[in-house]
Amino acid sequence: MSRKQWMDNAFWETDEKKELNCILELEDDVGRVTHQQMFLRRHDKDGNPNELFNEVVDALGEERIDQETADRVERKKAEAEEDKIREEEHNKARKLEKLFNYKLEAFEVDEIKNSKNRKLKAKLRRAKSKIEVDMYSIMILQEELEAE
């Protein structure tokens, strides 16, 4: 037995509710289920009512579509916020890798490599920015120069 059903996640594309995005679920005689995503306009280009559009609104109810539209906006906003946070964390991690390499470069400078000042070297290793690395590198270099 075949079946046709509008899924209840339909939403308005615009505030004027003239365009609708919805999914039609179809089941054929042997139980195969397919989904068709549809973009429907309330009226065709000649201004005539779109029967399919009205069918969806009648089946789901305008209030239901309003609610789903509002929920979707919230959901998309939350997803965008989450993506932003993830992107920021991703960038922080990349920055940390670059900083790690930068510190190792600093530790390859002869005066820093050979310095016995463990306290300053530890501060250099814990530096949170390139400026801080530079600062501690200079302090170590100065100390080495003074010792010469």
Partner: protein, 245 residues
């Protein structure tokens, strides 16, 4: 007699690994209190060793340039309780001194490869003659008790098997060749397939992300539950071939 405790760090094949290893060893000393109780064994190639290595390490063992010399080095640990750490890691918290408490009644302790961290792994799921399996243990860090003969034997077998799988003198039927380069495979094989290790007590660090936090993980999705990162793993983001200077 109290068991000796120490860290094993292995740097072979590439000079950059030696530089990472020195940095790791010094970072452990930066945080370990009391520092004079911090014992470090550096396993490296003779060609790489310089004063920094001699200064930071209590014990130095020379290895060859095998890609997985880490396993050879792990089996050679001079310490009863050994914490092996991949060279491309850095210590950033004083809780490093608590690592020995993680031994509990386990024979060896690892960090875990889990489904929710799947997004950073190169190859985790694989076909076996019995169906699909997946790696669950990460060899980036490993705490183990060398006073136990079974553990010593395991470490030696892990190295031997990895060596053999990589030079094509051992490989079980029904497994993809792409797995041959992973020491995780030999680890998986020994833990899952070897009868003699069926009673081995393999544990996972409590809040294991603190003990092996891959910098490639996204902090917004994956972070430790109970405290700051102790050991950060820079593995994926480093160019190991390009000279640092």
């Amino acid at each position: 007699m109290e068991k000796s405790k120490g860290f094993v760090i292995v740097a072979s094949k590439k000079r950059n690994f030696y530089l990472y290893a020195i940095n790791l060893a010094e970072s452990i000393r930066d945080f370990y209190e009391p520092e004079d109780e911090c014992k470090i064994c550096l396993v490296t190639e003779e060609q790489f060793l310089d004063d920094r290595g001699r200064d930071v390490a209590d014990d130095i063992i020379f290895c060859d340039d095998h890609y997985r010399a880490k396993l050879w080095g792990m089996a050679k640990s001079p310490y009863d309780l050994t914490m092996y750490i991949d060279a491309d890691m850095e210590c950033e918290h004083e809780d490093i001194v608590k690592v020995w408490d993680e031994m509990k009644d386990h024979d060896m302790v690892f960090s875990a490869l889990t489904d929710d961290r799947d997004y950073i792994y190169a190859e985790r799921d694989f076909d076996t003659p019995e169906g699909v399996s997946k790696f669950t243990l990460c060899g980036g860090v490993c705490l183990y008790d060398m006073t136990k003969p079974i553990v010593r034997e395991f470490m030696q077998d892990w190295w031997d098997l990895t060596y053999r799988q990589m030079n094509d003198t051992w490989w079980p039927e029904g497994y993809a060749d792409s797995l041959k380069s992973w020491d995780q495979f030999s680890l998986w094989w020994l833990v899952e397939k070897e009868e003699k290790y069926k009673d081995l007590k393999v544990g996972i660090f409590d809040d294991d992300l603190r003990w092996n936090y891959y910098n490639a993980l996204n902090w917004a999705i994956t972070k430790p539950d109970t405290g700051p990162v102790i050991l950060r793993h820079f593995s994926a983001g480093l160019n190991k071939d390009k000279p640092i200077v």
